[in-house]
């Protein structure tokens, strides 16, 4: 089970509170986690990554195990504690603006 924490606005959009739990088959990567997330919550499509290019939106960041995973390759394996559900995969709205 993968644990995902969404930013507040996306929790509201997806009608979830706190963490989301996902089943991810096979390798656990940014791509497979986001694929599973969007399959369960289709309203999130386009809010975290582009629907055509699948690039992360510029003001969205990914964290796990106190590491910034934003610039990792989408198909890179996520840290073991994230992949095993010990630690959550954090989707964070970047702090931007004045």
């Amino acid at each position: 089970m993968i644990r995902v924490v969404l930013p507040a606005h996306l929790q509201t959009l997806a009608h979830v509170g706190g963490e989301v739990e996902l089943v991810v088959e096979g390798q656990v990567t940014q791509r497979t986690v986001l694929d599973a997330l969007e399959a369960c919550y289709p309203m999130l499509r386009g809010t975290i990554r582009d629907q055509v290019t699948y690039e992360r939106r510029p003001f969205v960041r990914f964290f796990g195990c106190e590491q910034d995973l934003s610039h990792e390759r989408p198909d890179a394996t996520l840290p073991e504690p994230v992949a095993t559900g010990i630690e959550p995969f954090l989707v964070v709205g970047a702090i931007a603006g004045g």
Binding site: G46, T47, I48, Q51, R57, V60
Partner: protein
């Protein structure tokens, strides 16, 4: 007794303001989608309980929300806006080619006859259509395919398609406007388009009478006379009596011919409203006096409407989609400000009162007249 529902889009959410036909006491609901920019909310003329809203965030992008109960509940629908084919380039601010990139939906225009059909005007400028209630969107590529596309250049607010007018007498005829390209018309339901900017004069562009490049801020028409158009341009209030083939200036005695909003009385096709704004850089009312100007002669002769509006120390703006007209017997006029006020007049502009005073900056105002 008839009633009205005012749909307000703001920088931080949507609000629904409802009243009976007297328009004296108002119920306010919202914010819906709190914290998100709501560029536009509009109801279907074919089913007034069907509403569409454009919800935008710099972090999380574009969403389209749909309501089937007049705004009490909402559901997100399709938000995949992909340009048809290879997008190509338009001009950037410095005149260099810049690739077309989708940014947001500025305006949603539901079909006059089908609640599931709706047009979307987007930035970078293009026209999209949905025939399944907003689930899927497809570009009408003939507009960007108009040969002038590579010469379109963004206005200060971006290269936005902000105005969509559907001709009630001819389903194949649509008018649109883009800042800063100008106005365009199709007579074949969007397959082909022609620029309709003859007569516009814009001193701030290299060729003041160019085919395209004019910063058209808004266009409006009266349902009974779809061939007569009124335009608020970056500078100049304009009128066309031939469906945009030619334009004449009707700014007349306005204190400034700059502004954004323009609309037409529900029952008097020659009565039009604007809100003059001081520009280029100030973008607030002249002399700190918030005044709506009304012409009962289709332009040129204007009277200031001030009763109930602040006449000192007022420095708000009224944006292009932030004025609306109801169709009750005594015509109601509404507008919202960047200071968060929504004003209503139940007597065609003779007097005004705020419905709300402290919303986030208002981006758009629409009104539905309900049985």
């Amino acid at each position: 007794m008839s009633r009205v529902r005012v749909l307000v889009g703001t920088r931080k959410g949507a609000f629904v303001l409802a009243s009976d036909g007297k328009r004296e006491r108002w119920d306010v609901s919202g914010p819906h989608f709190g914290g998100w920019e709501i560029y536009h909310v509009k109801g279907s003329p074919a089913d007034p309980n069907r509403l569409y809203a454009s919800q935008v965030s710099g972090w999380f992008g574009q969403l389209i929300q749909r309501s089937n109960d007049g705004g009490q509940t909402w559901e997100p629908v399709g938000n995949k806006f992909v340009y048809d084919g290879v997008p190509g380039t338009h001009q950037w601010y410095d005149g260099t080619p810049h690739p077309w990139e989708f940014k947001r939906v500025w305006h949603l225009e539901p079909s006059l006859t089908d609640p599931d059909a709706v047009y979307a005007g987007v930035e970078d400028a293009a026209l999209f259509h949905s025939s399944d209630g907003g689930k899927t969107w497809h570009e009408l590529p003939g507009l960007r395919g108009h040969g002038s596309g590579p010469r379109w250049q963004p206005g200060a607010g971006g290269l936005c398609l902000h105005t969509i007018l559907l001709d009630p007498s001819d389903p194949a005829r649509i008018f649109i406007a883009i800042s800063a390209a100008g106005a365009f018309r199709t007579d074949d339901a969007g397959k082909t388009w022609r620029a309709i900017n003859q007569g516009l004069r814009s001193q701030y562009i290299p060729d003041p009478t160019a085919e395209v490049g004019h910063c058209v801020h808004h266009i409006t028409m009266h349902r009974s006379r779809p061939g007569v158009l009124f335009m608020q341009k970056h500078w100049d209030v304009m009128r066309s009596d031939d469906a945009g083939d030619s334009w004449q200036e009707v700014s007349g005695n306005l204190p400034t011919d700059f502004g954004f909003a323009i609309d037409v009385h529900a029952h008097e096709p020659e009565t039009i409203y604007v809100v003059p704004i001081k520009s280029d850089s100030e973008h607030y009312p002249p002399d700190g006096k918030l005044r709506v100007y009304r012409s009962r002669t289709g332009g040129n002769d204007w009277e200031a409407l001030t009763k109930g509006l602040p006449q000192r120390d007022c420095y708000v703006n009224v944006l292009r989609d932030a004025m609306a007209i109801d169709s009750l017997e005594s015509c109601g006029v509404y507008f919202g400000t960047t200071g968060g006020q929504v004003y209503a007049s139940a007597n065609a502009g003779d007097s005004w009162a705020p419905i709300v005073r402290d919303l986030p900056a208002v981006l758009s105002v629409e009104v539905q007249t309900l049985p």
